[in-house]
């Protein structure tokens, strides 16, 4: 059990770390099972690679398993083998049932957060000059129309945010609007959640279709205000 014990302890420790330690770090949250599975898979791969680097370590690693499966019947080994033979398929069956049985929960489905914009919105540039006045005006429009959900600090934590799923975008996060061109934001604000293409489903965003409320010029100014307020820059090619 010597050489096999360390890998088992490592796997258990990794699971406990991912399940209970990482989520409790300030600013963190529980990891979805898909991510835990991915990291455990990598850990298991690492163990197999390391333990099979030499003949001795390979024998020490596989030896107990090999002896258990093919060794002489002594000390009730036969009973244990039968136990594994029965328990292992049951475990696989239980897992399979758990992952395929119908439940009252909505199905897990990868939603594309940033689907591709329609052709007519690509290549548009902000027609409003970037002046302090226009930025201030944009921030004012933002405060009036956007901040109830996206927050006064541009962090997606407005007073109404808690009621929505998916939650409003956090513009201060460098992985959101900083990755996008201004024309993309123009499309999203103008068309809202109902204008998302099919890959944006399920649970489309509750973002209103602002084109019915706001003129294009205001939208462009809001975009300017958003980037400035969130201390981000739009993606450009110059």
């Amino acid at each position: 059990m010597g050489a096999l014990g360390k890998p088992i302890i490592l796997m258990v420790a990794m699971y406990l770390f991912l399940k209970f330690v990482l989520p409790n770090i300030p600013g963190s949250a529980p990891l979805p099972s898909s991510l835990i599975f991915l990291y455990l898979l990598l850990t298991a791969s690492g163990i197999v690679i390391y333990e099979t680097l030499s003949g001795e370590s390979k024998d020490a690693f596989w030896g107990p398993m090999q002896r258990f499966l093919t060794g002489k019947n002594s000390g009730g080994l036969q009973v244990l083998r039968y136990g594994v033979l029965i328990l292992f398929p049951l475990l696989v069956g239980w897992e399979t049932y758990g992952s395929t049985a119908s439940s009252d929960l909505p199905p897990t489905e990868g939603r594309t957060i940033h689907p591709a914009p329609p052709g007519e919105y690509t290549g548009l540039s902000n027609p409003v000059p970037k002046t302090p006045e226009n930025i201030m005006q944009g921030k004012g429009f933002y405060a009036a129309f956007c901040s109830p959900c996206h927050g006064g600090n541009f962090d997606g934590k407005g007073p109404a945010a808690r009621g929505f799923n998916p939650p409003p975008a956090n513009f201060a996060d460098p992985t959101t609007i900083a990755m996008l061109q201004e024309s993309y934001l123009f499309w999203r604000i103008k068309k809202g959640g109902v204008g998302l293409p099919i890959e944006g489903a399920p649970w489309r965003s509750a973002m209103p279709r602002w084109e019915v409320e706001l003129p294009d010029e205001w939208i462009w100014k809001i975009i300017m205000g958003e980037y400035d307020g969130a201390h981000q820059s739009p993606r450009t090619w110059e």
Binding site: L22, I25, G27, S28, A29, P30, L31, P32, S33, S34, L35, L38, Y39, L42, T43, S45, G46, I49, Y50, T52, L53, S54, G55, K58, L105, P106, T108, G110, R111, T112, I113, H114, P115, A116, P117, P118, G119, T122, G123, N165, P166, P167, D173, P174, T175, A178, M179, Q181, S183, Y184, E199, W203, S233, P234, R235, T236, W237, E238
Partner: protein
């Protein structure tokens, strides 16, 4: 329908005519008529009013059939165009350095090449017929744009074939003196034509994704403008490197399989060495491949935001997580092979390097974990609510390019250091400046790794354009600097080093052979995956923004369905390559089995069918 009825009527008339001449003839004709029915059905669509735009085929569908044949052709072509590069380099090494084993290896690579060449051409021909049959409107348009380059391609193909014949059949006859120089020149020409055979069709494929259309000018001017489109050179560079990687890993897998099956010590040593060379070539290309891929994606994104987002943020973005997994397995597999080499080929080295191997393995797995972490996670509603959305508040930052580029560069550095470790194993430095040299190398490595990480983190706080144009480029340049500094310094150190443990070839365990096969399967899957991504990024356009796909197949298949086709292409390609190599080595096995007096095979045995021309004993 008219055509079908006409066809059935014809069959009935023929049956009446042969009545009385024996039932067997009627049955035969009936079978022939039944087999011909689908073709009548296909032709039926062509008889409708107006020019035919599309034809279809029952069950499998025209798009799937073209997809499979195109992918197989591309994989075979990648092998056929990648192998001559290192076959020729091996020949040059043998020619200049006098090591005959490199010449033998080059010849063995070329044998695989000649065997695969005819099958590649065959699949190219099938693909052309299918495209002309199923997509006449598109092919008519492409012919109109590219007619001069079609002719050029035919000429290049003739030249490539003639050169390959001369190169292969002339191998034994051109071994000495000036004849060898001529043979090496033929190898150069082979690669020269192969390069153009690759970049000319690349223009057609890239034109479909990023077209440049000019209405005026001569046919040559229009073809030239269409050829020089924004993604042409990025694809050329990316495919050239990828072909070398594919060729290297497939040759490695071939050597791995032979290594597992041969009995004699001499052959085990040879195929162990060949496997090592194959893996080295694959790794050598793999180090440069992510840079080329990044440049290609950057050009696509800049060319069209919609296409860029479709690939990197839209519905195809999940493919890049699978890509990360496949590349990760490649990196792990290649490093594992190096580490096994240290343990088994250089006895006694394991204890010295085991700790370093563990550190490298942990670093590789950590980098891989970052690379494989998606920005938007697969989560149930409950899990998403706990996270506050699809992005994890802490790990979400790992899902964007700044993190991915950083870990890709670090993985390249680690793999390079694995190779350096293998290179140094079993040798003792004797140079007076060895201590200083090693300190400089360590400092360069540590500082470079830190610089790559700092730039990666800093990348989150600067505008995207600064990150893409300066930070990512700097990371790549830093890694290149490390490789260009440490490789020559190590070579200099080893020049005067004392060999403490001789390399023992043929002592690798069977799992080393399986690792080589795994690497080959991974690179094939990877090419199938990325082929789909590149092609699908055009969405419902044959020629992006110019010619819309109006066929019933103008939709992107679900990723699960697409993965079935990719899996099938990979499986079928592996079977095809195994068959080709099996046929190619039949002659060798026959020779080995024949009694000494009868070992010579008849002259003129067709190489294309897999037989090797008689080999003179050179070693």
């Amino acid at each position: 329908m008219g055509a079908i009825q006409q066809g059935v009527g014809t069959i009935q008339r023929v049956l009446r005519a042969v009545r009385g001449r024996g039932g067997w003839l009627a049955v035969l004709l009936l079978i022939a008529g039944w087999l011909a029915l689908p073709s009548i059905g296909l032709a039926a669509e062509g008889t409708s009013a107006g020019p035919t735009e599309y034809r279809d085929i029952p069950y499998i569908g025209s798009r799937n059939l073209v997809w499979i044949v195109a992918q197989l052709h591309l994989l075979l072509a990648g092998f056929v165009l990648g192998v001559p590069i290192f076959a020729w380099l091996c020949e040059v090494i043998a020619w200049r350095g006098g090591e005959k084993r490199y010449d033998k290896l080059a010849k063995e690579f070329t044998k695989l090449l000649t065997s695969a060449y005819a099958t590649t051409a065959l699949f190219g021909g099938i693909l052309l017929f299918l495209l002309v049959s199923f997509y006449p409107k598109l092919m008519n348009y492409l012919t109109d744009v590219f007619f001069p380059s079609f002719l050029l391609y035919c000429l290049l193909f003739l030249l490539e074939t003639a050169t390959l014949y001369l190169y292969w059949y002339g191998w034994d006859a051109m071994q000495d003196g000036r004849k060898k120089t001529l043979h090496v020149f033929l190898g150069f020409l082979l690669n020269f034509f192969a390069l153009f055979i690759m970049i000319v069709p690349n223009a057609w494929a890239t034109f479909q994704a990023s077209p440049v259309v000019i209405a005026e000018g001569t046919a040559i001017e229009r073809a030239w403008a269409a050829t020089w489109n924004p993604t042409w050179w990025p694809i050329n560079v990316h495919r050239l490197i990828a072909n070398v990687v594919l060729g290297g890993y497939i040759c490695g897998a071939y050597a791995g399989v032979r290594y597992l099956s041969v009995k004699s010590t001499e052959e085990r040593e040879h195929y162990d060495w060949m496997g090592y060379v194959g893996n080295f070539i694959g790794v050598f290309g793999l180090l440069a491949l992510p840079f080329a891929g990044y440049w290609l994606m950057r050009e696509i994104y800049q060319y069209n935001q919609q296409m860029g987002i479709t690939l990197m943020g839209g519905f195809l973005s999940w493919l890049f997580i699978i890509q990360a997994m496949l590349i990760g397995v490649l990196f792990l597999g290649s490093n594992y092979y190096f580490w096994l080499g240290i343990t088994y080929r250089i006895p006694g080295s394991e204890a010295k390097y085991r700790r370093s191997m563990l550190l490298m393995l942990i670093s590789l797995l950590f980098c891989l974990a970052v690379w494989m972490t998606p920005h938007s996670l697969v989560a149930s509603i409950e899990e998403a609510q706990k996270m506050g959305g699809a992005h994890h508040p802490l790990l979400g930052v790992l899902g964007v390019m700044s993190a991915k580029m950083t870990v890709a560069n670090l993985m390249i550095l680690i793999t390079f250091m694995s190779f350096v470790m293998y290179w140094r194993a079993g040798k003792q430095d004797t140079a007076g400046w060895a201590k200083l040299g090693k300190a400089v190398m360590s400092a360069v490595l540590v500082l470079a790794s830190l610089a790559v990480i700092v730039l990666g983190v800093w990348g989150y706080f600067v505008p995207a354009i600064v990150r893409i144009n300066y930070f990512s480029t700097s990371q790549v340049l830093i890694v290149i600097f490390v490789i260009l500094t440490i490789a020559p310094l190590t070579a200099l150190l080893l020049k005067s080093a004392k060999t403490t443990t001789e390399m023992v070839w043929g002592s690798m365990p069977p799992r080393a052979g399986y690792a080589l096969v795994l690497n080959a399967v991974m690179i094939i899957l990877l090419m199938a995956l990325m082929g789909y991504a590149r092609s699908s990024s055009r969405v419902h356009w044959h020629v992006y923004g110019v010619m819309r796909d109006s066929s019933p197949y103008a939709y992107s298949p679900a990723l699960g369905s697409a993965s079935l086709i990719m899996g099938f292409c990979t499986f079928f390609f592996c079977i095809l390559v195994a068959f080709i190599f099996w046929v190619a080595t039949m002659g060798d096995k026959a020779k080995a089995a024949a009694p000494p007096g009868k070992r010579e095979l008849p002259h003129g045995i067709p190489a294309m069918a897999g037989g090797a021309p008689e080999e003179r004993q050179q070693t």
